[in-house]
Symmetry: C2
Subunit: 447 residues, 2 copies
């Protein structure tokens, strides 16, 4: 299998400062032209898929003045992902289209329908990134008084995904003969009501759409907690992971793959994609220069705000050039990221300013920075030593960063035999090396 | 104002027999190529909009054998409307894109987002057909034990629409300066949280999308009951109506317009579109011939089933060529359509077979049949005598029926000065002659 490459399809980019860079597109909020150009660039680079992160709310409402500059990460002005990818299906032919949708504030019948429809529209290129919504504020947009507790979100998500998959199997692949002569539009014996009765959902089915071209659109998930890893092992085809070191990434990779047999799955049925931010230049110095340019576009207020979110403290209350405080463990969030940041800052005696500058470029994952050879070397090492099956790539600045990656690094990966010269399959699932799921109701499974 | 023309965008057609006709497209279930061709045909004909009806379930599961032939009306294999119209936004430039979404099984934040996104994708051509879902079975796909009662559905719908409109006003039109030099992506003083606290919904906002190009995407509704008419008067920009006679249509038109002042609205702020099925030929005989061809493609079983649904009785229990029974009023459904059918059959002494043959072509509305002159005459009479502001047109067979209408009738309407020669406006709202709503939070409204 070739290395999997996924492109961040947010045309506003992922680095908080990048929209201000001279190379960045003008007026990026809900800009369709940019999205189309980005999709075509990624497809020309033979990327497996475009990926759209998402949330259902505007964060930081209590500090809009600060937030005024931070849009790329907090996304106040974005397309809804499934609508955008439906549009992009019409201007692309090969690249996968992966949209984020929450299981916490949506209905399985509706989600099954939208992704089945996207799969039909794109002729088998749809993917669903299943999230349970981490931002507590989103609850207030869906008539909830407070965020749904984590365990309940994950339990609901697991059942939600099972219902969605069951609905995708509502019809056999040959259920719609559409035969004019006999007047037989569909074959009733090939329809399957789901009649799901669970703790969170009761869904009769069948879905009012033919089975998707891929059988099931490809399911993505993330989350590195125990409950998140278990959901991925039970449910997902691809999992996004961010680990700061190759050793940790290898451990996580082995951990995720080891969970699969319990669900009757083989190791190659779950692909692990590592989130990376790539700065590449003709030379390492050129990559460093761009990195520095972006750093200078982030004001201390924005940097402090980002660091505050990561470590769970009001960092504006501390001297900008004083040493980063060694906060106690109860101070920081549940993700472990905050703890890792503080440990790093203390060990390296970083100031507050140095700390946010260090972490800002890694908002979208690990930092891979250098010449094309250097970047290809580290990608090869991660890929060939089972730290990942591929990468979810943010390459500031959009679009020049991605163009530079495709121009400089992709040919080197191809030369080394690590990445495709052209698309192998007709569907996203085929390009990812994932089998087309049997229909749970088809005779070969049921008998 | 020119006459408004809306095209049924279901490329499977609306007449239950038409998919079997030799002129009908092959393999219509979820066929993107057909949808694209249909959209381009309608746009070449200067239609105001494409309209996609929708439901969230497969009907008639208890009689799939029969249902096997009836797909166009029961829609077991269709695209989800918002995804399809997002795709069609990329292959059209002028025509409006109106998708049906229910308020009973969705969330206002999600609906506001999807239609805002479609409006941005299409540069101001989105419309939302608000329905409360009439099919009881759909409830079973959304973890409900039974259909939500009618009054509660409409009450929820009214509040739902208010929340959606409020969310579309989350940002002033100039809220996103996106100024690279100053680092000011957005202007915090131009953001408005909604903080809606109602009986059915509590929604904080703001929406995570800029204000739609149209301010508010155009809202469509239907329903001719008292509660339905009141919802339209309070909420809609356009209303679909089906009345069997021009006199009844005029009464309904006057009734709907008379309700507007109570909501501070002028008569031209609500457009009434009459549902019609048009059979047109070079001659009246040609139209009759097509009509007969389609009739012959409907089996008695399918015809009886359709009639059964309309009058609320198992019509297979009655002799096919015996006289239509004069069912008592408590026998038929709440819509009045069943009563009208029985009254007509009794008055004209129709057999059961004659009755279903009479009503089948009118599934999508009144039947206008004849030569181009005859069809243009009746359309002119309806339009100029305040029976409607335009028409929602089904023209069997897709696509030839629509092409024939555009080739034969549209030029005659244009010659008479009743219909546009080219699109006047840039947005759907402009083409419909509807004002762009002020932002409820903008100074000009609030002060």
């Amino acid at each position: 299998m070739p290395m999997i490459l996924a492109a961040n399809a947010n045309a506003q980019g992922s680095h908080v400062g990048e929209w201000r860079h001279p190379d960045a597109w003008e007026r990026p909020a809900c800009n369709l032209g940019n999205a189309v150009r980005l999709a075509r660039i990624a497809e020309a680079g033979k990327f497996d898929l475009l990926f759209l992160a998402d949330g259902n709310g505007v964060r930081n409402l209590d500090k809009l003045d600060l937030f005024a500059a931070t849009s790329p990460s907090d996304r106040p002005g974005v397309f809804e992902p499934v609508t955008l990818l439906s549009a992009l299906a019409m201007v692309t032919e090969h690249i996968g289209l992966v949209a984020t949708t929450t299981t916490t504030y949506d209905e399985p019948f509706a989600v099954a329908r939208r992704f089945a429809s996207l799969d039909h529209l794109s002729k088998g290129r749809a993917g669903w990134n299943l999230v349970t919504t981490s931002n507590p504020g989103d609850a207030l947009n869906f008539s909830h008084e407070a965020h749904v507790p984590r365990d309940e979100r994950y339990e609901r998500a697991a059942e939600f995904a099972q219902v969605v998959k069951g609905l995708w199997d509502s019809w056999a692949d040959d259920a719609f003969p559409q035969d004019k002569a006999s007047g037989r539009f569909l074959d009733p014996s090939r329809a399957h009501a789901l009649n799901h009765q669970g703790r969170h959902f009761q869904v009769a089915g069948p879905l009012n759409a033919p089975r998707p071209p891929q059988g099931h659109p490809v399911i993505f998930s993330a989350g590195q907690s125990e409950i998140g890893k278990e959901l991925s092992a039970a449910t997902a085809d691809c999992v996004f992971a961010i680990e700061g070191t190759i050793d940790n990434a290898r451990r996580l990779y082995a951990d995720l793959k080891s969970r699969l047999p319990r669900y009757g799955r083989t190791a190659d049925s779950l692909k692990v994609l590592s989130g990376v931010t790539i700065f590449v230049g003709e030379t390492a110095a050129e990559a460093d220069a761009l990195f520095q340019e972006l750093e200078d576009l982030v004001s201390p207020a924005v940097g402090l705000d980002y660091l505050s979110k990561m470590v769970g403290a009001r960092m504006a209350d501390y001297p900008l050039d004083g040493q980063m405080p060694a906060f106690a463990e109860e101070h920081v969030g549940p993700t472990g990221i905050g703890r890792a940041i503080i440990a790093m800052a203390v060990a390296e005696k970083l100031t507050v300013r140095q700390t946010y500058k260090r972490i800002l470029p890694q908002m979208a994952g690990n930092l891979f920075k250098g010449s094309a050879m250097q970047v290809a070397d580290v990608m090869e090492e991660w890929f060939t030593t089972q730290a990942c099956d591929g990468f979810m790539i943010a390459a500031p600045v959009v679009p020049t960063g991605l163009e530079r990656f495709i121009h400089l690094v992709v040919p080197e990966l191809q030369r080394r035999g690590l990445f495709r010269l052209d698309y192998e399959g007709r569907t996203l699932r085929e390009n990812l090396g994932l089998a087309r799921p049997e229909n749970r109701f088809s005779p070969s499974v049921a008998e």
